[in-house]
C-alpha cells in the first residue's frame, strides 16, 4: 500500500514538473517586452531596460528558468510584476476561499449524485426518465448561466441571501455558509449530473452480476444488498468520474467567483491575465496542478480502500 502511494506521488510530482516547465517556457518565451508593458508607453527606453534587468528578463531563458525553479522548490515563486507581492502569498491567501467552494461542491456532488443515481437505477420508470432529462439539461447548460439564474432568483427577486461577496468562516460561520451556498450549487450542477449518470450506470451493471443473486440467496435484505454490496462495488467508477469532475469544478470556480464577487484564486487568475502578470499566472497554474494531483492521490487511496484489487496494483 505504501509503495502504491509513493508511486502515485512520484507520478504526480513528474506531472507538476512537466506542467511547470511547459507553462514557464510558453509564458516567458512569448511575453514580449515586459518592461514596456509594465511601465507604459511614456517611459524612456532606459528605464524600460532597467526594469527588464531588475526582473531578470535580460538573461537567457534557461538561466531565468533555473532562477525561478531554484526558488520554486523552496516555495518562492517570485513576485508579481505589478504589485511586487510574493506570488506564494497572493495565491495561498486566496486558495482557502476557492477550496471551500470546490470542496463544498465536491461533497454536495458526491451526496446528491449518489442519491439520484441510486434512485434512477433502483426505481426505473419515471424517476429514471426525470433524472436522465435533468442530466441532459445540467450537462448542457453552462454553470455560469445557472449561477446568474440563481443570483437573479434567490438573491435579487426573493432576497434570501446576499447576492455577492464572501464572509470568512472565522468571522461568521452562518454568514460563510450563506455566502457560499449559491456559488456551490451553481458550481455543482454539472458535476452532479455527470457523477449521477455514472452511479446509475455502474449500479445497473453491478446489479446484473452473479454475486448479487448469491447475496440475495443468502437471505440478505434488499437494503443490505444494494447499499452494503452493490453501491460499494459501483462506487469505484463513480469516484473516478468525481475526480475528473473536480478539475471541472476548479475551472468553473473561475467564473463563479467572478459572478458572486468571491475573492478566490480565480479572481486572481483573471486579473493577472488581464494585466499580463506572468509570475502570478504561473503561480495559479502550478497551484491548480498541485490541487489536481493531490485530489487524484486521494481518489487513488479511496479506490484502494474500496477495492482490494487496486491496493496491489
Amino acid at each position: 500500500m505504501l509503495w502504491f502511494v509513493l508511486r502515485r506521488l512520484a507520478a504526480g510530482v513528474v506531472l507538476i514538473v512537466a506542467i511547470a516547465v511547459l507553462a514557464f517556457f510558453l509564458l516567458y518565451a512569448t511575453g514580449g517586452d515586459v518592461g514596456r508593458r509594465i511601465l507604459g508607453p511614456t517611459a524612456s527606453a532606459d528605464t524600460v531596460a532597467q526594469k527588464n534587468t531588475q526582473l531578470g528578463l535580460d538573461k537567457p531563458a534557461l538561466s531565468q528558468f533555473a532562477d525561478w525553479a531554484s526558488g520554486a522548490v523552496r516555495g518562492d515563486f517570485g513576485r508579481s510584476w505589478f504589485t511586487g507581492q510574493s506570488v506564494s502569498d497572493a495565491v495561498t491567501g486566496r486558495l482557502a476561499v476557492t477550496l471551500s467552494l470546490v470542496i463544498g461542491a465536491t461533497v454536495l456532488t458526491a451526496v446528491v449524485a449518489v442519491v439520484l443515481g441510486v434512485l434512477a437505477a433502483r426505481r426505473g420508470g419515471w424517476v429514471d426518465t426525470a433524472v436522465q432529462f435533468l442530466s441532459v439539461l445540467g450537462f448542457a447548460v453552462p454553470g455560469f448561466l445557472v449561477a446568474i439564474l440563481l443570483v437573479l432568483v434567490f438573491a435579487i427577486n426573493l432576497d434570501l441571501v446576499d447576492p455577492t461577496g464572501y464572509t470568512r468562516f472565522a468571522d461568521s460561520p452562518s454568514g460563510w455558509l450563506s455566502s457560499i451556498l449559491l456559488p456551490v450549487i451553481a458550481l455543482s450542477i454539472a458535476s452532479i449530473v455527470g457523477v449521477a449518470q455514472q452511479v446509475r450506470g455502474s449500479m445497473l451493471d453491478t446489479l446484473r452480476l452473479d454475486y448479487v443473486r448469491t447475496l440475495r440467496s443468502r437471505g440478505l435484505s434488499e437494503r443490505r444488498v444494494v447499499y452494503g454490496h452493490v453501491l460499494r462495488n459501483a462506487a469505484g467508477p463513480a469516484l473516478s468520474i468525481l475526480g475528473v469532475q473536480f478539475v471541472g469544478l476548479l475551472g468553473g470556480a473561475v467564473l463563479v467567483e467572478q459572478i458572486f464577487a468571491i475573492p478566490g484564486i480565480g479572481q486572481t487568475a483573471v486579473s493577472a491575465t488581464v494585466g499580463g502578470d506572468v509570475p502570478l499566472v504561473l503561480g495559479v497554474v502550478i497551484a491548480t496542478a498541485v490541487l489536481v494531483v493531490l485530489l487524484n492521490l486521494a481518489v487513488d487511496l479511496l479506490q484502494g480502500w474500496l477495492n482490494p484489487k487496486v491496493r496491489r496494483a
Binding site: 506542467i19 507553462a23 509564458l27 441532459v136 448542457a140 435579487i156 447475496l215 467564473l255 487568475a269 491548480t288
Partner: protein, 602 residues
C-alpha cells in the same frame, strides 16, 4: 479469379456505406429530439451567415436615448445598457460563437483524427505518448490554460479557440484510434488489403466510415464546450471588446441586473439553447447508432414453436415401494416469463411439475436453454430483472412461494432455502473478504454475534475441506482458487442450516479432479443434515453418481421423471434416449443435440 472479383466487389461496399450514411441522417431526423435540435442549430447557422441582412441595426450603434429600452417597437428585443439593439448584437455575436466553436472542433479533429488514424492503423507505439500528453492536458481545467494563453497571446478569440482545440484533441485521438484498431481486425479490411488497395485508400474508404458517427457525437460535445468556454471568457471581459459576443452581452446585462434583468434572458437563451441542442443532437446520433447496431433481439425466440404445439404428456416412472420422507418442495404447473419491451411476455418455462423430498437429491437435467436454471431461480424467486412467475404454485412447507411477499421470501432465503451457484469466482463479492461474506448472512439470518459467526465460519471452512481456514477467512476472492471459492460458496449455502439446497451446475466450472471432490462434499453434507437438494445439471454422470431421482427437461418442460435407477434402466422418452446416446457415443455431453421433433410427435 480473385483479381477480377475485388473491383466488382468494392463499389458494392461503397454503395452500402453510402446508404448507411443516408440512413443515419434519416434516422436522426426521424427522432423528434434529433430533428428539433438539428433544425435549431441550422437556424443558428443561418442567422450567423445572414446576420448583416437580418439585423435591423448596426450592432455597435449606441443610441443614448434608448438605453435599456424594453422589447418592442424599434427594438424587438430591447436595447442594452449602452443603447445598442440587442437582436442585432445577438445575430452578429452568433458569428463569433459559431466560428470560434468551428475553429476549436476543426483543430481538435485535424490533430486528433490524424494522430488517431496513424496510431490505430499502424500500431500502438504512440499509445503511451498520447496518454502522457493527454494526462498533462487533463490535469488543468481548460479555462486556466486558456487564461494563461490569453496572458501572452492576447485577446484574439481564434487564438484562444486554437489552443482549446489542441487541448481537447486527445478525445478525438482516443475515439479514432480505438475505432481504427477495432476495424483493423475486420475481415473486409483484410480483404481490401489483399485485393491490393493502398493503405491511404483503405483509411479513406473504410475507416473514416466507421469513425464518422462517434466523431460527430464528439464534435457536438466539443462545440458545446467551446461555445461555453468562449462565452465564459467573454463574460470575464477577456475577449475582444470590439466584437459583439454572447458572453460579452451577458456581462453587460449582468452589470444591469438590478435595472433590467430581462436583458439577461436573450444571451442566456442563445448560449443555453445552442448548447442544449448540441448535446441533444449528439445523443440523438448515439441513439440512432445504437438502434441500428442492436441486433433484432428475441426474433429467434419468437419464431420458436408456440408452447401448445409442444404439449405432450410427461413420462412418469413408477416409484419403488416403501415410504418416502416428507415432501419439502412441490412445484405445480410453473410457468416463467420475461416481459418484453413491447409489452408482451416471452415464456421460457411452460408448466413444470416437480417435487423434492427431505433427504433426497433430485436431479434436473437438460441441455442449455431448456429452462432448468430458470426453474431453480423461480423457486428462490431470484429471476433476473423482467422475469416473473406467470402461473403455477411453488409449495414449500405449506406456503406458496409464488405468492409470498418479498420480505417473507428474504426470511426464507439462506435459512430454509439455500443456493450454490455455477461459476464460483463471479459469485463472490470482490470487495469483501471471504470471512465477511460468510459471517454477514449468519449474523443477519441467525442473529449470531460477530465472534460466534466467525467461529462457525471457520468450522464450516474446515468442514468443506479448506486446508487453512484462518487464511482463507481473511482472503479476498481474487486470492483463492476456483475450487476453493466453490467450497466457500457451499459453506456459505449450508451455513444457516437450510432444509432445501438448490445447486445450479455446482461443478461445471471446476477442474475434473476438483469436480469429484465437490460432489462428494455435497453428498456428505446432504446426508449429515438430511437436506433436500435440487441439483441442476447437464451431466448424466453427476446424476448417476448423486441423484435419487431425476427429471429430464427440454424446451421449458419436463419430459420424463422418476427414480434415477428406473430412468437410467429404461429411458422411455425419445429425448432422454437421445441424451443417453449422446453420452454413449463418446461425444461431449454438452454437444449439440438434434431436436427430436419426431420424438415429440411419437
Amino acid at each position: 479469379m480473385t483479381t477480377t472479383a475485388a473491383p466488382t466487389d468494392l463499389p458494392a461496399v461503397r454503395t452500402l456505406e453510402r446508404t448507411a450514411r443516408v440512413s443515419l441522417v434519416r434516422r436522426v431526423l426521424r427522432s423528434p429530439v434529433g430533428a428539433v435540435s438539428l433544425v435549431f442549430l441550422l437556424l443558428v447557422v443561418l442567422a450567423a451567415v445572414f446576420a448583416p441582412l437580418l439585423a435591423p441595426q448596426d450592432p455597435d450603434f449606441a443610441s443614448a436615448r434608448d438605453v435599456l429600452a424594453p422589447p418592442g417597437g424599434d427594438h424587438l428585443l430591447g436595447t442594452d445598457g449602452s443603447g445598442r439593439d440587442i437582436l442585432s448584437r445577438l445575430l452578429y455575436a452568433s458569428r463569433l460563437s459559431l466560428s470560434g466553436a468551428a475553429t476549436a472542433v476543426g483543430v481538435a479533429a485535424a490533430i486528433g483524427i490524424t494522430a488517431g488514424l496513424l496510431a490505430g492503423y499502424y500500431g500502438r507505439w504512440s499509445e503511451s505518448v498520447a496518454s502522457s500528453v493527454s494526462s498533462v492536458f487533463m490535469a488543468l481545467p481548460a479555462i486556466v490554460v486558456l487564461l494563461a494563453a490569453r496572458t501572452v497571446l492576447g485577446p484574439s478569440p481564434y487564438t484562444t479557440m486554437i489552443v482549446l482545440g489542441v487541448l481537447v484533441s486527445p478525445a478525438f485521438y482516443r475515439v479514432v484510434s480505438a475505432a481504427v484498431a477495432g476495424v483493423r481486425q475486420e475481415l473486409y479490411v483484410d480483404a481490401a488489403r489483399v485485393s491490393g488497395l493502398s493503405d491511404g485508400r483503405i483509411i479513406a474508404r473504410h475507416i473514416l466510415t466507421v469513425v464518422r458517427a462517434p466523431a460527430i457525437i464528439l464534435a457536438a460535445g466539443m462545440a458545446g464546450i467551446a461555445i461555453t468556454l468562449q462565452a465564459g471568457l467573454d463574460f470575464l471581459g477577456l475577449g475582444d471588446p470590439q466584437r459583439p459576443s454572447w458572453g460579452g452581452m451577458l456581462s453587460d446585462a449582468f452589470a444591469a441586473i438590478y435595472r433590467e434583468p430581462l436583458t439577461l434572458l436573450w444571451p442566456s437563451l442563445a448560449i443555453g439553447l445552442t448548447c442544449i441542442a448540441l448535446v441533444l443532437l449528439g445523443s440523438a446520433v448515439r441513439d440512432a447508432l445504437e438502434r441500428s447496431g442492436r441486433p433484432r433481439r428475441r426474433r429467434r425466440r419468437d419464431a420458436a414453436p408456440p408452447a401448445a404445439s409442444l404439449a405432450e404428456s410427461v413420462v412418469v416412472h413408477d416409484e419403488p415401494t416403501g415410504a418416502r420422507a416428507e415432501e419439502l418442495l412441490h412445484v405445480r404447473d410453473l410457468a416463467v416469463g420475461y416481459d418484453q419491451p413491447d409489452g408482451s411476455t416471452t415464456e421460457v418455462v411452460h408448466g413444470v411439475e416437480l417435487s423434492v423430498h427431505r433427504g433426497e437429491i433430485h436431479g434436473l437435467i437438460g441441455e442449455s436453454g431448456s429452462g432448468k436454471t430458470q426453474t431453480a431461480f423461480a423457486v428462490m424467486r431470484l429471476l433476473a430483472a423482467g422475469g416473473r412467475i406467470v402461473r403455477g404454485s411453488i409449495e414449500f412447507e405449506g406456503a406458496d412461494l409464488a405468492t409470498l411477499s418479498e420480505k417473507e421470501m428474504t426470511r426464507l432465503r439462506g435459512r430454509r432455502i439455500a443456493y450454490v451457484p455455477q461459476e464460483p469466482m463471479s459469485n463472490l463479492d470482490p470487495v469483501f473478504t471471504v470471512g465477511h461474506q460468510l459471517t454477514e448472512p449468519m449474523r443477519v439470518a441467525l442473529g449470531l454475534s460477530r465472534t460466534a459467526a466467525r467461529t462457525r465460519a471457520l468450522d464450516l471452512l474446515a468442514r468443506v475441506g479448506i486446508p487453512d481456514p484462518q487464511r482463507t477467512f481473511a482472503a479476498y476472492p481474487h486470492q483463492i482458487s476456483g475450487g476453493m471459492a466453490q467450497r466457500v460458496l457451499i459453506a456459505g449455502a449450508v451455513s444457516c442450516g437450510p432444509d432445501l439446497l438448490i445447486a445450479d451446475e455446482p461443478t461445471t466450472a471446476l477442474d475434473v479432479t476438483v469436480q469429484a471432490e465437490v460432489l462428494d462434499l455435497l453428498r456428505d453434507l446432504q446426508r449429515e443434515s438430511s437436506m433436500g437438494v435440487l441439483l441442476v445439471t447437464h451431466n448424466f454422470g453427476v446424476v448417476a453418481d448423486l441423484c435419487d431421482r431425476v427429471s429430464v427437461m427440454r424446451a421449458g418442460r419436463i419430459v420424463e421423471t422418476g427414480p434415477t435407477r428406473a430412468v437410467f434402466a429404461t429411458p422411455r422418452h425419445e429425448y432422454t434416449r437421445s441424451l443417453f446416446d449422446a453420452v454413449l457415443e463418446d461425444t461431449a455431453p454438452r454437444g449439440p443435440l438434434v431436436p427430436t421433433t419426431q420424438g415429440a410427435q411419437a
